[in-house]
């Protein structure tokens, strides 16, 4: 599993690996928001938590279709399926690799972009915490979506349609964490719900992903 994780990380940072693509997309979307809604500080501060999370979510979506499609194209996927590594472990390794190349950079970059949206000073810690807690769920759900559409040519769009509705709970609870944090309210409830969603995704989705892969490999 570590071998697969290491290979995927290495592939991501090599030419054409797409590392930083999500991050750049996140940056550009956030920079565009003030152009669209105007420079009023109060308005920006109010929409900042939601905008940051929607942008992070779309950025995470960007690199999902490569997760299994590239391995399917060059034939690695059937070879992995016949290796001693169970497909569940393959799914988990792929999800973790996606998080390390997308979710983690987004989490680290978010505070800097919060400044651009005039995010309330009290919310920065919650923004980072909600991203750190929520983006692993995005990666795991995305890996599942990628496994569902792996056999389909140019399945990226279909995958987005499948995956985005599944992102809704993560978006609701995490944006709520940041909003409450910004207004100085208690964040324990949405934070616990977000943690629950992520823990559930980590526990259950590798099995669902492996099942989807088995069907698509047939």
């Amino acid at each position: 599993m570590i071998a697969l994780l290491r290979r995927d990380l290495r592939l991501a940072v090599r030419a054409g690996g797409g590392f930083g693509l999500g991050l750049a997309f996140f940056l550009i979307v956030i920079v565009l928001v003030p152009f669209g809604v105007g420079p009023e500080g109060a308005v920006l501060a109010r929409i900042a938590p939601g905008m940051l999370w929607v942008a992070a979510l779309l950025a995470a979506l960007l690199s999902l279709d490569r997760i299994f499609a590239l391995d399917q194209e060059d034939g690695s996927l059937p070879l992995l399926a016949t290796s001693p590594l169970p497909l569940e472990a393959v799914a988990l390794a792929k999800g973790v690799a996606h998080w390390l190349t997308t979710g983690l950079p987004l989490t680290l970059a978010a505070p800097g972009l919060g400044v651009l949206l005039n995010l309330a000073p009290g919310a920065y810690g919650w923004l980072v915490l909600s991203l750190a807690l929520g983006t692993p769920a995005l990666s795991m759900i995305g890996t599942f979506g990628a496994a569902l559409t792996v056999g389909i040519r140019r399945g990226g769009l279909l995958m987005s349609l499948l995956v985005l509705p599944l992102y809704v709970p993560v978006l609701i609870f995490s944006a709520e964490v940041v909003r409450r944090g910004a207004e100085g309210m208690a964040v324990a409830t949405p934070l616990a719900m977000l943690g629950g969603v992520t823990a559930g995704c980590l526990a259950a989705l590798p099995f669902a992903t492996a099942a989807a892969l088995r069907i698509n490999l047939r």
Binding site: P78, S83, L217
Partner: protein, 207 residues
């Protein structure tokens, strides 16, 4: 000697339509079997079924667990990894080390640090086949292993199969259209074509 790979009355389907039925053979350690038959007869489907990538319609396939390896038209070679990195990855996944002489055996020694994306089709094919020597599985299912190889490389590959793989007690099932110079039995799949209107649809059993 008892058989390492035993196939009994196997029926396979492609896209839910039965293509082969009643396929039976057994291979003792050190034996190879060449699958022959016209395009579309079901060689690839049979090999994928044997490798466990798709379920059989009927019949039994028996070989020790985690002993099988599959190699298809696609090599599973990553273009942005070097030749050595590609082999080291598969070795790692299988919990093994890359044997010292494997690069020489497949004439890849001079390409060790080359990016796999810059290899020619034949060189890439040799790298894909070298994976089989690296993972060291005893039961090989090979689908057209010699595509895009020149005569010299075919001989290298045959030498690997005969002197390393089969000599060490492995078995191999090989679908090929050319004579790879291996002393092995061959099986013409055209004789096992499924009768139209025979066993129907595979989906019910799995839904």
């Amino acid at each position: 000697m008892s058989a390492l790979l035993r196939v009994q009355d196997l029926a396979v389907a492609r896209g839910g339509r039965p293509v082969l039925e009643g396929v039976s053979f057994a291979l003792a350690p050190g034996q190879a079997l060449i699958l022959r038959g016209p395009n579309g007869v079901g060689k690839t489907t049979l090999l994928r079924t044997l490798a466990g990538l798709q379920p059989a319609l009927a019949g039994r396939v028996a070989y020790p667990e985690d002993a099988g390896a599959y190699a298809s038209h696609a090599d599973g070679v990553k273009a942005t990894l070097t030749v050595m990195e590609n082999l080291a990855f598969w070795a790692d996944v299988h919990g093994r080390a890359v044997p010292e002489d494997v690069l020489d055996a497949f004439d890849l020694a001079g390409l060790r640090e080359r990016m796999a994306g810059t290899l020619s089709a034949g060189q890439k094919r040799r790298l894909g086949l070298a994976r089989l020597a690296v993972i060291g599985r005893p039961v090989l299912f090979l689908d057209e292993p010699t595509v895009s190889l020149d005569g010299f490389s075919v001989r290298l590959f045959t030498a690997f199969l005969r002197d390393r793989h089969l000599a060490a007690g492995g078995v191999a099932v090989i679908a090929t259209h050319i004579d790879i110079g291996l002393d092995a039995a061959s099986l013409d799949l055209a004789a096992f074509r499924a009768r139209p209107g025979g066993a129907q649809g595979s989906d019910e059993a799995f839904l």
